[in-house]
C-alpha cells in the first residue's frame, strides 16, 4: 500500500516517504510553524505540496478501531516524565536518521544501505534493551528473595 501510494500518488521527492511517523510529524509541525511564524524550518519536498497528516490520522483510525471493538481502556499514567523523555529522544534520533522504525524498514527494503544499517542498529538496540530488562527483572527477583530471606 505504501509503495503504491508512492508510485501512483506521487508522494515522491524523498524516496520511500509515503509513510513515516517521525518525518510526517516533523513536516506537519514544521509546516504549521512556518505558517504561523514564517520560520524557515526544514521540511521535505513533498511537504511543500501537502500537509502530512498521517500521525493524527493514525491516531483517529486506531481510536475508531478500539471504539468499535471495545478495547478502549483509559489507563493511568505511571511514569509520565520518563515517557515524555523517551518520546523526545526518539523523535530527535528519528529526525537525525530520517525515520521511525516503519520507514527504516521501508528504506531497508527499498535498497538503502543507511536504512539497512539503521535497522541493524535498531535490532542491536532491542537486544540491549531486552538484556537490560532481563537484568533488571533478575535483580528485582533477587532483591525480593533477599527481602524474604531477611524477613524470615
Amino acid at each position: 500500500m505504501f509503495v503504491s501510494a508512492e508510485a501512483f500518488l506521487n508522494v515522491y521527492p524523498p524516496a520511500a516517504y509515503s509513510f513515516c511517523l517521525t518525518c510526517h510529524t516533523r513536516d506537519l509541525v514544521n509546516a504549521v510553524l512556518n505558517l504561523i511564524f514564517s520560520a524557515g524550518f526544514q521540511t521535505a519536498a513533498v511537504a511543500h505540496r501537502a500537509l502530512m497528516v498521517s500521525s493524527p490520522a493514525v491516531l483517529i483510525g486506531a481510536y475508531f478501531a478500539a471504539r468499535f471493538h471495545v478495547e478502549r481502556a483509559p489507563r493511568k499514567s505511571e511514569r509520565p516524565l520518563l515517557h515524555f523523555t523517551i518520546g523526545f529522544v526518539v523523535m530527535v534520533c528519528g529526525i537525525v536518521i530520517f525515520g521511525c522504525p516503519t520507514r527504516l524498514t521501508m528504506r531497508a527494503a527499498y535498497g538503502d544501505v543507511y536504512g539497512l544499517l539503521a535497522v541493524a542498529g535498531m535490532f542491536l538496540g532491542i537486544w540491549c534493551g531486552t538484556a537490560a530488562m532481563r537484568a533488571r527483572s533478575r535483580a528485582c527477583v533477587r532483591t525480593a528473595r533477599g527481602a524474604n530471606g531477611g524477613s524470615r
Binding site: 524516496a15 509513510f19 511517523l21 510529524t25 493514525v58 481510536y63 518520546g87 536518521i97 538496540g125
Partner: protein
C-alpha cells in the same frame, strides 16, 4: 509557500486512517516483534515485520521494473539546520531550489541513476559535491549510490538509540500512537514529547549536533 494540494493531503490522511485501524487490530509493532522473539520466542510479530519487509521489497522491485517508481536516495540530507535556524531560511540557494527542482524534476528523471539531485541538495552542498564523492558501488539490491561516510555511524547509533528506548517504552512509534488512541496515558505523554521535540530540535539541538557532526 506553494499551494497545499488537498487531494494529496486527503490521500495521506486516508492512508493513515487505514494504517491506524489495521495496526490496532493486528497489534503491529516493529520493535515488539524482535523483542518478543528474544524474550518469549514468540514469532508472530516478527513474521509481521519480515512480511512487511518482503512486501515492500517485492513491490518496489516490480514497480521499478515497470517504470512506475523512481528510485532515488531515500534520505534527503543531514539536517544541517544550523543554516535554517533562527527564522532565516539561510540556505536560500539550498532549500527552495531543492523543492523546486525536486518537484519539477520528478517527472523527466524517470530512469536516471541520480534522481536524488533535488533531495540531496539540502544535504551536502549541492550536486557537484555529491558527484565529487565519486565512485559508487553498483550493487544490485542497492537503489542509490552508496559511498561510506560518517552517516553510517550516525544511522547505526541512531538506530541503536531508537531500538533501546522503544524497548523501554514498550513499542515502536506506530504502536505508541495506537496505545495513545486506546487510552494509555503513558503513550500520550510519549506523543507529547514526540511533538515537543520538533521545534526544540530545530531551535537548539540542531546547532549542537551540527557542531559535533
Amino acid at each position: 509557500v506553494t499551494a497545499v494540494r488537498v487531494y494529496l493531503t486527503a490521500a495521506i490522511g486516508a492512508m493513515g486512517l487505514v494504517v491506524g485501524y489495521l495496526a490496532q487490530r493486528s497489534r503491529m509493532c516493529f520493535v515488539a516483534g524482535f523483542r518478543d522473539y528474544l524474550l518469549v520466542r514468540d514469532r508472530e510479530l516478527l513474521l509481521g515485520f519480515f512480511s512487511f519487509f518482503l512486501t515492500v521489497w517485492l513491490l518496489t522491485t516490480a514497480l521499478y521494473s515497470l517504470n512506475l517508481l523512481k528510485k532515488g536516495a531515500p534520505e534527503y540530507g543531514e539536517p544541517r539546520t544550523g543554516e535554517t535556524v533562527g527564522g532565516v531560511p539561510a540556505s536560500a540557494d539550498g532549500e527552495p531550489r531543492a523543492g523546486v527542482t525536486a518537484v519539477v524534476a520528478a517527472k523527466p528523471q524517470a530512469g536516471q541513476a541520480e534522481p536524488s539531485a533535488g533531495p540531496s541538495d539540502i544535504a551536502g552542498g549541492g550536486p557537484e559535491e555529491r558527484a565529487s564523492r565519486g565512485r559508487r558501488l553498483a550493487v544490485g539490491f542497492v537503489s542509490a549510490p552508496f559511498t561510506p561516510d560518517r552517516f553510517v555511524f550516525v544511522s547505526l547509533a541512531g538506530g541503536w538509540i531508537v531500538g533501546l528506548l522503544s524497548t523501554f517504552a514498550g513499542g515502536c512509534v506506530l504502536r505508541q500512537h495506537v496505545l495513545a488512541a486506546q487510552g494509555g496515558r503513558d503513550s500520550s505523554w510519549y506523543l507529547a514529547g514526540f511533538y515537543a521535540a520538533v521545534p526544540v530540535f530545530y531551535l537548539l539541538l540542531s546547532r549542537l549536533i551540527s557542531s559535533i557532526y
